[in-house]
Symmetry: C2
Subunit: 165 residues, 2 copies
DNA sequence: CGCTTCTTTCAGAAATTTGTGAAGACAGGG
DNA sequence: CCCTGTCTTCACAAATTTCTGAAAGAAGCG
């Protein structure tokens, strides 16, 4: 029964999961290729794969891997490591950082807030519409603070439950 | 100086805001038409517009309005009301409900969780990959609980600051 | 210093998504 | 019971996005 450590167990099962989970990510707004690459990394044993491995498992061209990885790195969902002494690059899911990136989306929220502030100013803070926007803005500011606190609590919770990975 | 209540002040300013804020929403994953319709509602004085008004302000066809509104209603970001005694339909942003819909995304999170659970099972809970997925799953479960609590706090905070709208 | 291996960039083909016009459906009002 | 006004659905056209193959660009290694 034992698990031949190092090799993925049932490649088909893995693939099924990858595709299915990637589909969810797509539905949530992620572009397809990045979603697939990400899911593949997530379900790999080490959490690290090379460009070639990704291309092979997902049956996509090097170009597609390159594009997807760039996207994911920009979103801070993976990091790229240069294997010293080799031209190979390795991409890694940061075990405990990627979901912070997902959950935060700090930059995005900031831009929303900026947009809303402008809106309040230009529609007039005293108008009904202005007031509605101001309330929305307040909500995002609130969330921003809360999420930060929540992440702190998560780290504690996580450590209790999993030990620090 | 006063604000001619009822009429939007500077239609151009409103439009600028609508388009700019909609663009942010698009970037965050919302389809374009729904984003524009939503922004238009958000920046209207009453928070309620008819299909015709939307089409006129955004320069889009009735078909486009129909599609966008259906999408937004499914996401619980607007609600539709039938003006009794008229065939006109009115669409409303729920002042304080839409961001709950945004923040919750409960259904989405649930599906992610389901996907992850399957993944853990099929990759094997004892494998490194399985453990990674399990941790991710734990994270989402954690977030789900936290968000609920957060929303409670928000309602309190909101009431203090704005009175119950 | 040139060879080899891997990655990135670029232009185009293919597929998907998006919005329109036109026809159909539904509901009130005469 | 038909007419009118409003929303929805459908099929198609247009635009955008997405992925590939090919060529150029780095970086180690002999």
């Amino acid at each position: 029964m034992a698990e031949p450590a190092g090799a993925d167990r049932d490649p088909e099962a893995v693939s099924r999961f990858v595709e299915q989970f990637a589909a969810q990510l797509v539905e949530a707004g992620l572009p397809r290729m990045p979603a697939r690459v990400f899911a593949a990394l997530l379900s790999s044993d080490t959490g690290v794969l090379t460009s070639a491995e990704l291309g092979e498992r997902l049956k996509i061209s090097p170009a597609a891997v390159s594009g997807a990885v760039r996207y994911l790195a920009q979103q801070h969902m993976v990091s790229r490591e240069r294997e010293p002494g080799s031209r190979r690059e390795r991409y890694r899911v940061h075990g405990d950082q990627w979901y912070e990136a997902l959950a935060n989306r700090e930059t995005v929220i900031r831009r929303w807030e900026d947009g809303l502030r402008e809106g309040v100013a230009s529609l007039g803070p005293g108008t009904p519409a202005g007031r509605r926007l101001a309330e929305t803005l307040a909500f995002f500011e609130f969330v921003e603070k809360e999420v930060e606190a929540m992440m702190g609590r998560w780290r504690v919770h996580r450590e209790e439950r999993f030990g620090r990975g």
